[in-house]
Symmetry: C2
Subunit: 374 residues, 2 copies
């Protein structure tokens, strides 16, 4: 994009004050700059194994129905999700990915002067929305590469936060807390505060990571997606589960006719194929193991992950890790890295096909060597 | 949906104040209530002729890529649109339909106390967003079933409006102004006010309806969609064209990764097949003519339309038209009607296949007869 033009005089004061930075630059943007496509696309934690063949079939069939708007209530999908999770359909709202749901949620709860708490270096799109609605972000540091529930709760009490954001498992570190730890966190959420529990990678985590659902507990909202475990990032389907009172409020602000009809059909079929999801989890586990091994072969420490990516400690500082990242990108492997110190000593590599992993094994030593040389 | 629960205490005062009404109830919701599907779906101005076979093919092919996020810049689509319209790519923003773009636009320009102007009974989703961001809606009446540019401009001056909304061609009446009339309107937009020119039905209108594009003129933003002429309502692809300064501001608030990858691919292929669009325009014209004839056969006046729907004057008041509408719906034909008097003397029927039109010809006399009886 070109340089930012001057502000339009009709923007609200808030809109005029917003930075033009975007949460993430897409891989296509980098490819256009480089003039060649990446050989492996391992930077956005996309699921290279893709959706269930049943979902593929459902989406192909739905193409012929795309002259019709998608059901604005995502009724069939919500009913299937409700049955799957044993909650009430009115306790689920479907949206255009977790990003879209975060937009609506922040819009509902954050205005000028509202305080929110998150971890320094956690998911930037949450911050993008908070800033976008005029809220104030307070951060706590990671503790040993883990988001820190106690510190988050303490900070929320200190600043009178309305929202606390935590991802479990975490992105960008891949670390995770047990269900018991998160349940204790839920139970210590201050009055009139909401825990935003981002479980984008939940399906990929070991059993015992996600606390039992209790949609009667208004202290927490749970965010899930079809982008990661279900392999449908491009379809933009996420959902939130929580107390009926909060979930119903989404209907006051959301883009009712915003869901693609094809995506709704695909998500419904993907949800129905839990066996495929299980297979994919196995493939991701193997890829994760391969990334651990590649790290070890290069004398680096991989941080154990409950996600479809592995964050590798490059062993030095952020400056060094940025060189490693640049080396990987220059060698055709799209990866990203944590943005805040000391987590920025790492690079984050998504799980991939055996071919992708072989490429990583081949180019990581080269990237490290050139980073050490520069 | 069940009755509205009490307000969540964490909602902003604005969010807590918002009504739970939705702009439109979807046909699927009505079908679920009735327990049977509609025989003809002619209420949402969907394009029954569907997208170009090339777009269908592109979407089917893109299904296998849906593990990847869509390009957050919609780069290829924006470039193709820029070439098509002979504007700069930075003067175009792509979003999840005009509804999604209206959300971003209103968010950028409307806050508590902001005045906007529209016509009473015009597109309700615009009002939904204005209310949703705390703005104040001022309306002027239609003049002889036309949105009235002079009255809209005068009202905007009177209230110091930041936005003026007009659709050309208009929905729900189907009427349209010439490009010259709209160009005069653009030129009379007050300082620090923006004309929101919704051209959702623009491709279906006679030549000479849409004024020449001039993205250097910051007084107007033009909204277009792939939902109507291009037959892809379920894909959720719209775009806005305007001054670079305003268009770039969308990047501060939009859901960057919100566009379906399949939809982007479909829109790109649909745009490329202008011959197909021409064919569809012909089919829609034939269907429009058939609706005019059916109205005449029943002694009713059809309002001439530049869209893919025809609004038929039922000859009496809103109460009567609502009975006709109910009759049509009960006979399996999904239609809608204008919501505000005196336009609510009409029912609005979308263009359809010859089979759809035959069904309308069959059931309209029955609906009229039972409306006259009750």
């Amino acid at each position: 994009m070109s340089a930012e033009p001057t502000n339009d005089p009709r923007l609200t004061p808030l809109a005029a004050s917003l930075p033009s930075t975007v949460p993430f630059v897409g891989p296509e943007t980098a490819e256009r700059k480089m003039g060649i496509p990446f050989k492996a696309r391992l930077g956005a934690n996309e699921n290279v194994f893709g959706p269930s063949p049943n979902a593929v079939r459902a989406m192909r069939q739905a193409v012929k129905e795309t002259w019709m708007y998608g059901d604005p209530e995502s009724h069939d999908l919500r009913l299937a999700l409700a049955a799957h999770h044993a909650v009430d359909p009115d306790e689920i709202v479907v949206g255009a990915g977790i990003d879209g749901l975060l937009d609506s949620l922040v819009r509902l709860t954050v205005t000028a002067g509202t305080n929110v708490v998150t971890s320094a270096g956690a998911y930037p799109t949450f911050n993008y929305h908070v800033t976008g609605y005029g809220g104030t972000i307070h951060t706590v540091n990671y503790t040993s590469d883990y988001e820190d529930p106690d510190h988050l709760i303490a900070k929320a009490r200190e600043v009178g936060a309305v929202l606390i954001y935590i991802a479990n498992p975490d992105n960008p570190m891949g670390t995770w807390h047990t269900a018991a730890t998160i349940q204790r966190m839920i139970e210590s959420v201050p009055d009139d505060c909401l825990l935003v529990l981002d479980e984008a990678y939940g399906e990929l985590a070991p059993k015992g990571t996600m606390p039992a659902l209790n949609t009667h507990d208004a202290r927490v909202i749970r965010l899930r997606t079809f982008s990661k475990g279900y392999g449908m990032a491009g379809a933009r389907v996420g959902y939130a589960m929580g107390h009926k009172s909060l979930i119903s409020a989404f209907n006051r602000v959301r883009n009712h006719f915003g869901m693609s009809r094809i995506s709704q059909a695909g998500a419904l079929a993907a949800l129905d194929d839990q066996a495929y999801l299980g297979d994919v989890c196995g493939k991701i586990e193997a890829s994760r193991q391969r990334l651990y091994d590649v790290a070890a072969e290069n004398g680096l420490k991989a941080i154990p992950s409950a996600t479809n990516f592995v964050t590798i400690d490059c062993g030095k500082d952020g400056k060094f890790a940025r060189k490693v990242l640049k080396g990987l990108v220059d060698l055709g492997v799209f990866v990203r890295m944590p943005m805040v110190s000391p987590q920025d000593r790492c690079v984050r590599i998504s799980c991939g096909t055996p071919k992708d992993m072989a490429l990583v094994a081949k180019v990581l030593p080269q990237a490290l060597a050139s980073a050490r040389k520069v």
